[in-house]
Symmetry: T
Subunit: 146 residues, 12 copies
């Protein structure tokens, strides 16, 4: 099973950016943790980060036929990008929406997700653990319990 | 560590109620699975279901000082009950909001959660697996990684 | 054919409560009238009233597999309770929404029904006669004209 | 007792128009059924259909002083025509609003009635039976139970 | 003169629940104070708390003909329950709406009261004193100044 | 100077229709009064009433090049008809919007005029006198004070 | 008969202020014209202008018991001042709302009147003639046609 | 192939009505052009204009079973008429919505189409050419490219 | 302890203004009553009324450092004046918002208070008694129970 | 005449992406068809696709002074990008907005175009034919009929 | 060049009023600073503060023909006063809107300016420096760079 | 002191793009002017322009730890980009929002800034001078007056 983990704008700042909100773990820390969990599932992981909407869309296009599922933390694009949702639906790859923070306890402009209606599920609020939970959820749904 | 799992209205119908939406597993199946996972964490689990808003509130009150965290699937009360949110905040027990379905891909009246702003995190869309992921997330957050 | 008639909050006050709005007939009067009409159709009737949302939900659950249709006057819960609608859909019993008054000529908060989208039909504004018309409508729809 | 039954735009297509939504009975079938029921009540019935808003208004004007009640299925004008409501209030004839379908389970633009605030009551969702129930309701309200 | 004091959901937690918001006095403290004030007015007091909406409705029904006025702190139900307002109007007992906190300086979802349109008056923001002021106001309005 | 006075739906009922709202003068009375005033200004008057939106539009079309100004009481079409406004703008005849009642003190659906943005001016609330004032205003504007 | 003509903020600039919108006549010109018309009706006129909301309110208070009707052009306060409406209702003097321009063809913030619901009628769009028409309308309504 | 071209209110004024907005071509010019294009496709054309909503509905009814597609410029009815949409859906004739102007660059009340959700496609902004493009589009869709 | 009682626009009309709404007591009556109650608390009272927003603001400015608390009935300015709220916050004097009527059972434009978010508490609906209750509440909060 | 055809995000997936919605023709097929039509008009065509908003903006900038018109299918950016509209207006190139699907019969978030107010016209709903119709419309408008 | 600096309600409290928000400089400090800067530009400055809306309007009227530009900090009136905007437009004096704080990072009711649409420009968020920047901006715009 | 000046989409067109709105100065002219002013303050300036949202975000990321403040004219992204605001907050560089035009006097979609809540201050409406004023304001705030 091949899983892509896609990260959106500003996530490269993780660890330094508003640590009281986003924690002190860096994106590299998250990648390391996730690779270690993926291994236990026999899952091959690709991991990337993109600040541009167009680049994120093209990274999604590249998944078509090449991966079995995705985790997506689209950052601030979560709340507005119909183009990213269209890309996800267009490539026919099941995905889980992930957020470090509980977006529902933050500013009003972060409480709505444009992507969620197309997602398999949503995990948010567990910091870096959100990614691990999302990976478990994705694996369980795509390869359902025998 | 003691964890309470609280279920709201209509969840007693699980397995029979709109199986194409909610799946065929019953609440007893979910309880069984969850107890088995809890055991591996050394977590003591209580598990209950309540159709009345007042009863759910009183079940929450009973957690005060008696448990270390909770999973809550408040069903349709999720979207409207300020009283349940007040109860949760009042007893000072960290909780994770859980849903079987991805509430963000359903009818508009299910896309807003009155409870989420007070939650630690939210997990939705993974069917019965949502409960397991939420338990993992709760345990990880309440007893953080050493 | 078995039909359940379910009444929501404050309907036990009927006859005494704002008679200029709701009329002078009591719920017992309505039950009597309705039983008499049901008899002519060979319909077995159960008739109950519940002030709590949770109790109403449980009364609905009890209908599953035990009745062929229902009349529901959910009183003020009509306008807000997604949980009651979920219960009705969950038990798969066709129902007719009934109101004594024409809810569309009253205060704005009474002009929207959360339940109606799941109903077979709606009858309102005929006082106690609304129940009789609803019973006729239900019987005709569930046992259609040969 | 004289009762007018007025039908609005597109109802002449009944039976042919979207039969999965509106059923296969024609307006003539409904008229026949209704005349037969009216007879049992000693009610004289007039029955007409109008595609124009102005024509429907003039048909309503003609009721003034000439009939004791009306059934009105104003079709799509139901949702927008203040002029038809003004006509109904102007001629002082009590009327029941009728719909073949349950308008509350349809598109948002059909869920609001401009006419209902002026109606005696509303019956919808029972197909052609809606007319019969409405007639019963009207007769019972205009000639109340002795 | 007989006065009922009714308290809604979560008020049993008073003193322990968010003391920085609701203060350290318990509901028993408030009852004690209020009884002492009532005595000086020759008022007989009943005092109760209910977490369920249905139970609160039934407590209101019980007032019909048995008391001359009521104080009501409906907690979070204040903002949404039409059924409680219907109960209050139905039993024809004048009541004063009471809140410990100034609900208008709190979250948006607490700034609207569904009950206030039916109340004699509203007192909020004075902590436990709100109840005493409300009792004074109720007594003065029901037994007006000679 | 030639002036057309156009009246919309239900105005033929004037005198009989809700006299407490619209007064007891008939449309014929208003016509008589207006003709008498018009004479003093040397104005030739045409006067008509139309219940259909299409008929009113065609009556407006007929004004093109044949009259110097118009008074329009479009009744309930005032609040919704863009087609009538288009007709008025299309024929390039200056007009005054007239209402018997003060539409701003009535139901919300009557407080907005679709036509007013294209009008010379608006006169409302003076009963039949509104027409006379409007005629004076129109004459003064179209033949301005020397 | 005594009539007060009250003018609100910025009307002292008339003639100089945006003449393409408000015309070249000054407030003194309007006063002169209006006095001349009032004389023909045997009406005693007072005429004033106030830039402050409080001053306008006090000018209205002074009318109580001292005049039989009023014309009010409250300028920009028209669209927001509940206090001025309260003053008008409080002194029980019938008034006509007047505007030089057709406020309904201007910016959105000018299309709503806070005062109109309490007015006898509204006249707008006829420039200085609006005042004359309003005076005629007021006189006719307060001293109705014999 | 038979195609009906239906035109709504005020389009008979074309050429004279606001030529800076709608151009100088008349409806007869458009008809002539369209007939000439239709001929090249072997399409039989009917062409009509209707100012009344009811008449337009009846013109649509007449298409049932008699034509293979339609072009519709419903003028100002475009933005509000559910009855016309119902008629179009009822007769099961595929249609293209046409406008002379780009309705999306005009006043807000013209930017929404009630009809478009039921249309095959929309062409607007090309003046009289809009009709020709719409005819080409309709023909290509109804008789798809071999 | 020094307390200022500030009254806003139109309150000078009290007793004469809409007595069915506001009662027959005058502002002087209220002042008399309040002075007598203040005496029993050893409170020095200043009492004033202002029709202008600017004057009310300046009266509030004068309280800075000169008084320990205030009662404010800002009349219609309650619902719109951010400037008055700024003044109150600026002078750092705790205040209670007072209304004679229950503003929540009146017109929609009176149901929102711009001032309440900055108030200690709110008392409304008890007629002149509202002032007395507010004074008691203010004294109890500013000099809390020993 | 030189015409640029610009395509926005996800259009490179055409043919594979949701073929039931967008059809089976690829963007290369559309380009081929369009070049063939352009040739018949003597039009020189450039054709490109861009997934990034910034890249699309820069492609638009490149048109300044180098082309006489454009066709733009901005995909999901249509509904939100003010920056793209600014670019189009900034380069002063007339353009036609094109969509494969009838955006008005799809999800609410696709029914509004941020670009259309600046367009010459709009063509949507004809699949790949939309481009051909748009090219015809553009050519006819930019080089109007002699 | 003559420039007027006008300050609205509560600005007289500057230095004492919420210093954490508005800073510790007084209005006199700002005036001093501004006079010193004005001198370097050869600008004659008048400087005033007004708590009443009417007084501010009259201060604006006094500018007509007597000054070449203005700085306006209208305080809380900024967000609601159409009358002040009318005064500014009426006297034809170009003005710059100034705020000490960044009004866009404050409460929602401060984020909209009624005045800004008529302003030359807006400067906010620089404390007392906002005035200096605004003066520079005004001078540069009114006497543009040679 | 190091200051970065960042410009968003379409600003490279300055001087040529809608000169009646944006003026005739080019971005190079603004840079020249600004460099000259910066020199007088001993400020080192970097100056760049970016059409892509992702590129602008990355330019902001590059500021972290490398500059003391920024001026940002984000063009049309101002009104919608939460991702840019997140980047600005994430790099912890104080910035001033700049616009050439007074965005509050333009189309509604330009009147709201997504970025302003995170800015130090806002300067708009002074054309190229806006940048100079913003630089002065930034310098004064970051190196406050001794």
């Amino acid at each position: 099973m091949r899983v892509a983990v896609l990260n959106g704008p500003n996530l490269n700042l993780l660890g330094k950016r508003e640590p009281s909100v986003y924690g002190r773990e860096t994106l590299a820390d998250i990648e390391r943790r996730l690779r270690s969990l993926a291994e236990t599932f026999g899952v091959t992981l690709t991991f990337s980060q993109h600040n541009g909407e167009g680049e994120l869309i093209e990274a999604i296009h590249a998944l078509r036929g090449c991966c079995d599922g995705a985790l997506l933390n689209a950052g601030a694009y979560t709340h507005s990008s119909l183009a990213i949702r269209d890309a996800l639906v267009g490539v026919e790859v099941p995905f889980v929406e992930v957020h470090l923070t509980n977006i529902f306890s933050r500013e009003p402009e972060r409480r709505h997700s444009m992507l969620a209606p197309a997602a398999l599920g949503v995990v948010c609020g567990f910091g870096a653990d959100s990614y691990e939970l999302a990976l478990r959820g994705l694996v369980a749904r795509v390869v359902p319990r025998g």
